[in-house]
Structure formats: C-alpha cells, structure tokens
C-alpha cells in the first residue's frame, strides 16, 4: 500500500492524452508556445467527396498539421482526429500527412533538421473515398521510408480508436513507435475479423481478449512497438523527445526481413495461438 499513494497522486494530477482532441495532442507534444498550425480549418480544405454523398465534412478533414519545436529543434506533427469519421484517411486528410512528411524530407535535404511525429488514431482508409484514400496511404508510406533515411519518424498510438488497415502498415514503417496500454495496432479490426471469419474465430466484444492480442502492452512485449507509456500528456511528450535523442535505429523494423520470416516460421498455424503464447515465442523483441 505504501506505493499506492504516490501512484494515486500521479494518477489524479496527470493530464490524459487520450481525452485530448487531435489539435490539443499536437500542441502537447511541441515545445510550449511553438505551435503553429498549417492548413487549418479556415483554409477550408475539406473533403470534396463527402458532401456529394450527403456526409457533413470537417474543414480540416480530420488531420491537424502543426509546425513547432521539439527539444528546441524544428518539428512537424500530423495528428489524426479520431472523432471525425473514425480518423479515416480520405484524399485530403492523407495528402496533408504525406505533404508534411515530404516537406520535412525537403527540409533535411536543405540542412534543416525537422523532426516528424505522426499521431495515428485511425480505422484506415475512408471507405467513401475508396481508391483515392488507398493511393494516398501508399504516398504516406513512401514518404515515411524516404524521410527515415534522414531522421527518426516517430509515431504515437494513444487510443482509444487505435491504428488499423493501411495506416497500421504506415505505423510499422516508422522508426520509433510509442503506444499506451489503451492503444491497439492491427491490420483488420476485431469487428471485421468477427464479421468475416465468424464468432468462433474472434469475439470482438471480448475486450480483454482483443487487447491481449493487439493491445499496446502486447505489441510492445513482442517487439512491434518501442515504448510503452502511461496515458499522460507529459509522459508521452517526454517519450517523443527521448525517441529523437536516441536517433536512428541501426536497422528499421521493416528492414529486418530475415528475423521476421524466422519468427513466422516458428508459428504452427494448425495450433491455436493466444497473446501469451506469442509472447513466449517472440518475447525478446526485434529492436536494432
């Protein structure tokens, strides 16, 4: 009980990152007073496709791009607002992220050490924008790979939506992935798996089961995420600063092809596999 009191104090005084809007999340990660939004709502760069389908757009299309500083160095943050259309990536939303990463790469080529951060809270592609959303997710992925030659690309998945679909692949391409226990990271969301493969395959309403498979703690334990952090805006901002202090990994996770092929080969698909068993198989992590 002696440790419970300081923990309780910290719990009561912390500022939840999950409860912040995307705009406030971006601001929380940048040095105080340095936040400057690009292509904000008054630029009215909303999705042209949603109103055609009778859906109300949001004037920033659910992505906040902000310049500022992290640890005194120039930085750019692209934050997805999960409350708007589930954080889905439409043409405009995705283009804002891809352009932010492209401009950061151009900065590096001109000697400006811009630090890129992605706040990923997304169900993946926006189905109403179909191939345009998919194409722009490919652009984001290409931009991450081009930029990570110069500087760590840092991503945060805080929750509660998580990061799914093509954007989970974008998360996997990042140099450093920060997650909370509330975060989820996976290709298909649990509801999709249940719908396609049946309740016997996966009960999407079983939250304990879902988080034991794709939750932030599990993803960190098997080496698919780098930092596990509490839902605390200050702690997450410190994790982001720390990720840049560590610099580029010797090898990015997505370049460790041999390691991951061996990991896949170690799995017997004829036997059931739960989160605990996967930890036993993969638990050592895959960090460079």
């Amino acid at each position: 009980m002696s440790t419970a009191v300081p923990d309780l104090e910290r719990f009561l005084t912390r500022r939840s990152f999950i409860e912040l809007s995307a705009r406030d999340r971006a601001e929380a990660l940048l040095d105080a007073g340095s936040y400057h939004e690009l292509l904000g709502p008054f630029d009215r760069l909303h999705s042209p496709w949603l109103p055609m389908q009778g859906i109300v757009p949001q004037e920033d299309d659910g992505v906040i791009v902000a310049r500022g500083r992290i640890d005194g160095q120039p930085a750019v943050v692209a934050a997805i607002e999960s409350a708007f259309q589930g954080g889905s990536i439409g043409e405009v939303a995705g283009a804002k992220i891809a352009c932010a990463l492209e401009l950061a790469r151009q900065d590096h080529e001109q000697g400006i050490p811009t630090r890129p951060v992605l706040l990923l809270e997304t169900g993946g592609v926006r189905l109403q924008e179909a191939n345009l959303g998919l194409a722009v997710i490919a652009e984001i992925q290409a931009a991450i790979v081009a930029l990570r030659r110069h500087v760590p690309v840092v991503a945060v998945i805080a929750g509660m939506v998580g990061c799914f679909g093509g954007m989970s692949l974008a998360a996997a391409l990042c140099s450093h992935l920060i997650v909370t226990r509330q975060a989820r990271l996976g290709m298909n969301g649990p509801e999709v798996i249940e719908q396609e493969a049946g309740l016997e395959e996966l009960d999407a309403s079983d939250r304990r089961l879902i988080w034991s498979l794709i939750g932030g703690e599990q993803r960190h334990a098997v080496g698919l995420a780098d930092t596990l952090v509490e839902d605390d805006a200050d702690a997450i901002a410190e994790s982001v600063r720390d990720a840049f202090r560590r610099g580029l990994p010797n090898q990015h996770r997505s370049e460790q092809v041999k390691l991951f092929l061996e990991r896949l080969a170690a799995i017997d698909p004829s036997k059931p596999l739960d989160g605990k068993a996967l930890r036993a198989l993969w638990g050592k992590g895959a960090k460079a």
Binding site: S21, P41, P57, Q58
Partner: protein
C-alpha cells in the same frame, strides 16, 4: 444533409476568428470570423434533415444577446440544441479573449 442560411443585424465588430468543436457524433464544429458587410451571417451544414425551424430558434435566441458582425459556419453531426448553444457561446468567448 441539409444546408441552412440565416442572417442577423449586428452592432459590434468581431475581434478575431476562432474555431471550436469537432464533427463527431452528436457534435459540431463552429468557425466564427469577422463578416465583411457589418451584418451577421450563419451558414449551417447539418447531417440531420428537417430541423430548420429548431436551428432558427437556437440562432434567434443566440443573436438576441450576441451583436457581433460574425460570419459563422457550422458543420453539424447531430448535435442537440444545447450542445449547439454551448459551442456558439464558447466560440464567442474565445473570439473575445
């Protein structure tokens, strides 16, 4: 989706533009900025059809107190009249702070 436009007389200038809210379930975003003709104009885009008279009531009441020459744009995703009134009030307070 329905578009609603309303106009009101105004007496005061709006100090600065502000954006509040999010187009989430039961929520709305409000963009409030100085209008260029000294009058107030409201442009509403709502996901729920057929509530034009309720929107007019909420905005009539709002402009019975607020006299700013504002151009207000609302993107609404099913917010209740109470939420709409609170977001409008928040926008006004932030534009004056």
């Amino acid at each position: 989706m329905e578009m609603i436009n309303l106009d009101y007389p105004a007496e005061e200038t709006v100090p600065r533009r502000v954006h509040v809210g999010v187009v989430g379930s039961g929520e709305l975003e409000v963009l409030l900025e100085p209008s260029n003709d000294g009058q107030a104009h409201v442009s509403i885009r709502t996901s729920v059809d057929g509530y034009g008279s309720i929107w007019k009531n909420v905005l009539d009441r709002f402009f019975s107190r607020y006299k700013g020459a504002a151009a207000i744009e609302i993107n609404d995703f099913g917010a209740t009249p109470g939420i709409v009134a609170l977001r409008l009030q928040q926008a006004v307070e932030e534009s004056q702070s």
